[in-house]
């Protein structure tokens, strides 16, 4: 298409990459956290629960700032990770991390709701058939939580596509590295007359997220139909 410049295409591609990584990378941890919150009781559970919701409560700028302090090269975690070769600062990985963290509460909530809705009597049945807790989780709880996992993933993806405040604060806006669509859109909106350029990017971003949404709806419907029996 001719109506997006190469820089803009770069932003689109980068946003996709960041959102995908934020979603897929966050999913395992999201599932684990959701399961723990839904099914286990342990000291500090409410603390974990609160922590998970934090990015939702805090203004994104604050989250970004906190990320900078912890995951920056001088931050306690960022420093340690850098020693083993993982850098977030000013990298697209950092953008993915920021997006992932902002999306995390949404993902966890959705998955947790689905896990809680899984009939524990089915898990019991699996246990009597010889499945250990891990296997019960993998063969019963997980597949039956699919609606929530899909919903969580699509929410996270959408959120990651739109995330801006934390990202720009944490990893700033470096063309080709951390300049995601929302950053680009923001930049356009800051200057008088930039609206139409912003609009084009918004359209692309909406189109991508809607496709993801439709895809997830389709998958969910298929899964539901299978469970309903054929």
């Amino acid at each position: 298409m001719t109506w997006l410049g190469p820089e803009e295409w770069q932003a689109v591609a980068l946003s996709l990459k960041v959102a995908l990584w934020a979603t897929l990378g966050g999913l395992p941890l999201g599932i684990l956290t959701a399961y723990a919150l839904a099914r286990w009781s342990f000291p500090g559970k409410q603390l974990l629960n609160g922590l998970v919701h934090l990015p939702l409560i805090l203004p994104p700028v604050v989250t970004g700032y906190l990320l900078l302090l912890t995951f920056g090269t001088r931050g306690p975690i960022g420093g340690a990770l850098q020693e083993i070769g993982i850098t977030f600062a000013f990298r697209w990985t950092g953008a993915a991390l920021a997006a992932g963290i902002m999306a995390f509460p949404l993902m966890v909530r959705a998955i947790r709701l689905s896990v809680e809705a899984v009939d524990p009597r089915l898990e019991e049945a699996a246990a009597t058939l010889g499945a250990s807790r891990m296997w019960v989780f993998a063969t019963v709880t997980l597949p039956l939580s699919l609606p929530g996992i899909l919903a969580g993933a699509v929410l996270a993806f959408a959120k990651a596509m739109g995330e801006f405040g934390a990202t720009i604060t944490f990893v700033s806006n470096i063309p080709g590295e951390t300049r995601t669509m929302p950053s680009a859109i923001y930049a356009f909106l800051q200057v008088p007359g930039g609206e139409s350029s912003a609009l084009r990017l918004v359209a692309v971003s909406v189109a991508i997220a809607m496709s993801a949404l439709l895809l997830s709806e389709m998958l969910a419907r298929r899964a539901a139909a299978r469970v309903a029996g054929a």
Binding site: V61, G64, Y65, L68, L69, G72, T73, R74, G75, A89, F90, F164, G165, I168, T169, V171, S172, N173, I174, T178, S183, Y186, A187, F188, L189, Q190, V191, P192, G193, G194
Partner: protein, 223 residues
């Protein structure tokens, strides 16, 4: 309606204003672009203090502010900041990439946010932009750029002097020559149909000037 960077001074001034006139000034701080759009959408604003001239020009073109009341209220200057290190002279010979090493130069969005626009212009004026452009990390506002430097994430940054002096963890390494970039001005004007002309006047009172100056703003005036 005032650009967010003027908050500390304006908070003080509006308190003074309330004390001396008995009228309360309610100040809404946000980015200039957001404020300008809100005024376009009919926001109940009386006075607009913008961080750059572009948005003010646009409002003026649309007849939303009263050109007669427009004046350049404040000025500011750009500085190169870092965490410690020796002061440098900012001349066309400055080897910024060398100073940065692997690090990044933190600036506000160079195409969007006034501080970034000014900064880019200054670097271009000095012929340094080409060399440093790939190393620039842009943020959505000056404060975020400042935070990058303060947290040590970026070794150097370009901000307003007003921001730099208030952050104890950063030091001003050098001032950009005033002629290297367009004049940094904060225009103020009364919104068409607005009332508080006296507030606009009050902004130029000595007490207000003192408050601005305390924040290192250059108070532009009728001089």
């Amino acid at each position: 309606f005032a650009a967010a960077s003027t908050k500390t001074a304006l908070d003080e001034i509006s308190a003074l204003y309330a004390g001396s006139t008995g009228n309360r000034a309610v100040v809404s701080f946000a980015g200039s672009s957001a404020l300008a759009r809100q005024i376009e959408s009919g926001a109940p604003a009386d006075v607009f203090i913008s961080a750059d001239t572009g948005w003010m020009d646009r409002l003026e073109d649309q007849g939303l502010v009263d050109p007669a009341t427009r004046r350049d209220l404040l000025g500011n200057s750009l500085v190169l900041i870092g965490t410690g290190g020796d002061p440098v002279a900012i001349t066309p010979d400055l080897d910024l990439p060398a100073l940065l090493g692997n690090g990044r130069l933190a600036m506000a969005l160079v195409d969007a946010v006034p501080a970034g626009i000014y900064g880019k212009a200054a670097l271009q004026g000095l012929g340094l932009w080409q060399g440093v452009a790939p190393h620039v990390a842009q943020t959505d506002n000056v404060r975020a750029a400042l935070a990058l430097v303060a947290s040590g994430e970026a070794p150097l940054g370009i901000t307003y002097v007003t921001d730099a002096v208030a952050e104890p963890r950063v030091t001003v390494l050098g001032r950009f020559p005033a002629e290297s970039h367009p004049r940094i001005v904060y225009p103020a004007a009364a919104v068409t149909g607005g009332a508080a002309l006296d507030f606009l006047d009050f902004l130029r009172s000595p007490r207000a000037r003192a408050a601005f100056a305390a924040q290192e703003f250059v108070v532009l005036g009728d001089e």
